[in-house]
């Protein structure tokens, strides 16, 4: 019988304590921690993994990244230029398939060539728009298909060699 009343008073006590705590937040307008997103954006931390970026001018075309990627994200097509160095003509990164595991970044032998940027807002309307094209062929013949790009570059190399 005593337990009955004790239970009631414990229940009442706990309810009132809880309500006292919540009302402190309820009436305090400064307690809000919401960040209004498009106006206020958070700085991502240092080792944040955003989109992949490749510094195509120092890329040696070793295709280590393309070979180690578990999901086949990187498409790499290389061509020998006039100095007998491999240049990456087509270097496509499919951001839709990337799992941000970082294996390609670890595999790349060149410092600061392939790394994660801090960009995380790259939604697109089609899957094709999610593929980033870093290849050198792009700079010389924009918007053409892959074979044409390779053909263009090889043609230019042949002309330069002559």
């Amino acid at each position: 019988m005593a337990g009955y009343f004790k239970k009631m008073f414990t229940a009442l006590n706990s309810v009132l304590t809880g309500m006292g705590i919540t009302i402190k937040y309820g009436v305090n307008p400064k307690a809000e921690v919401t960040q209004q997103y498009p106006e206020v954006k958070r700085e991502p931390p240092d080792r944040f993994r955003g989109k992949l970026f490749v510094n195509i001018n120092i890329c040696t075309g070793c295709t280590a990244c393309a070979r180690i990627c578990p999901v086949d994200v990187i498409t790499l097509k290389t061509v020998r230029d006039e100095n007998k160095k491999l240049r990456p003509v087509i270097f496509d990164i499919n951001n839709a398939r990337c799992i941000y595991c970082g294996l390609c970044v670890e595999a790349c032998p060149v410092d600061n060539c392939l790394y994660f940027e801090k960009k995380y807002e790259f939604s697109a309307y089609t899957k094709e728009d999610l593929i980033s094209h870093f290849g050198l062929g792009e700079a010389q013949s924009p918007g053409k298909k892959a074979e044409e790009k390779t053909a263009d570059v090889t043609k230019e190399q042949k002309e330069a060699a002559q």
Binding site: M8, V15, G18, M19, I21, T22, I23, Y25, G26, V27, A31, E32, V33, T34, Q36
Partner: protein, 372 residues
């Protein structure tokens, strides 16, 4: 209403017979439409208010993008729900499935009728107002069973049966605690009850302050009413993490919106009953003695009524976002082992008080002592 009809018909000079009939029907439809419109507007804003209050308590801002301060959020929600695909499960019982949300919503909106919003504004001044609202709330349990069975889903059926058990059980503390308050004005007419609480500066003759038994009855009523409306901490039948979503698992789009809006409508109704019976209804606090034009008095009374109801609704929302959910057996234990005995003894105590003191409340006694 007959005077209104006679006045309108007397003003027109056309054959009386058919005009009276048409005018009667027109008045019925118009008052129904007004109540429906107000209740829908309230329910939309209640969903917005719930999200804002939830945000405030959880240290975040609620909706604030759609419209100024996010006020049009309920419109956006309504449009979204209207545009959703209307899925009826293949093996569901079509008639029962479709009929259930309509009945739930109709019942919740029909309970707005006997409330008296001011001295002269009421939709229908029923002589059995309080009992009518309680009876209507018990029809909701029927409609919930309809929806639960019609969904052809075991979890909906379990949720529906639990909801019905909860509603039926909690009617008893509600009725008993209301009875403890009704024996004083000795009438179930909502307006009479409010008129009984007049005088005393508009505050001191509230039934909640009348005697310690009605004071306790108010709290018992409020707790049981939260359970009746299926609000947290008693929302086992419809909680998202329990039993999928209980009896409205299979409902999509506007059908779900009907259930949802009916819950807010029910919240308004139980808060309105608490205001009417315990908190003095539409009596103006402290300024009731000042003479003012009739329309101003009515407007102020409606404002006071709604303000009190909204305070109680805020209290319900505050409780929802504070307390964890009760398990079904804890819920039933609370009702049968705690609330019902307390309500019974309360009723006996209140009856003894009224018998011995001839219906005088604490305010009357103090006033009498001061006067002598």
């Amino acid at each position: 209403m007959t005077e209104l009809i006679s006045r309108i018909v007397g003003g027109l000079n056309t054959p009386v017979f058919l005009t009276r009939f048409l005018v009667t029907v027109l008045i019925m439809l118009v008052s129904g439409a007004i109540v429906l419109g107000i209740s829908l507007l309230y329910e939309g804003l209640a969903t917005y208010a719930e999200r804002k209050v939830a945000g405030d308590i959880q240290a975040r801002i609620g909706p604030n993008r759609v419209g100024p301060y996010g006020l049009l959020q309920f419109v956006a929600d309504g449009v979204k729900l209207l545009l959703k695909e209307d899925i009826i499960p293949f093996y569901a019982d079509k008639w029962l499935f479709i009929l259930a949300p309509y009945i739930v919503f109709t019942v919740s909106f029909a309970a707005f009728v006997p409330l008296s919003y001011s001295d002269h504004i009421a939709v229908a001044n029923l002589n059995v107002g309080v009992l009518y609202i309680i009876a209507i709330s018990s029809v909701v349990s029927m409609a919930i069973l309809m929806g639960a069975w019609g969904s052809n889903n075991k979890w909906s059926l379990f949720g529906g049966m639990r909801a019905v058990a909860q509603i039926v059980s909690y009617e008893i503390p509600i009725v008993l605690s209301l009875l403890a308050a009704i024996i004083l004005p000795a009438s179930m007419n909502m307006r009479d009850i409010i008129v009984y609480q007049g005088g005393g500066l508009g505050i001191f003759r509230w039934l909640v302050f009348n005697n310690p038994f009605t004071f306790l009855a108010f709290f018992v009523y409020f707790i049981a009413a939260i359970a009746e409306v299926n609000r947290t901490p008693f929302d086992i039948p419809e909680a998202e993490s329990e039993i999928v979503a209980g009896y409205h698992t299979e409902y999509t789009g506007m059908r779900f919106a009907f259930f949802f809006m009916a819950e807010y409508g029910d919240m308004f109704v139980v808060s309105a009953i608490a205001t009417t019976l315990f908190l003095g209804g539409w009596h103006l606090p402290f300024i009731g003695g000042i003479s003012m034009p009739l329309w101003l008095r009515d407007v102020l009374q409606v404002a006071v009524f709604f303000m009190k109801v909204f305070v109680l609704i805020y209290l319900m929302m505050w409780i929802r976002w504070t307390l964890p959910r009760l398990r079904v057996d804890q819920l039933m234990e609370l009702c049968w082992k705690y609330l019902t005995p307390i309500a019974f003894f309360n009723l006996i105590g209140a009856s003894v008080w009224v018998l011995l003191l001839h219906g005088r409340g604490i305010y009357d006694i103090i006033a009498r002592i001061i006067v002598h």
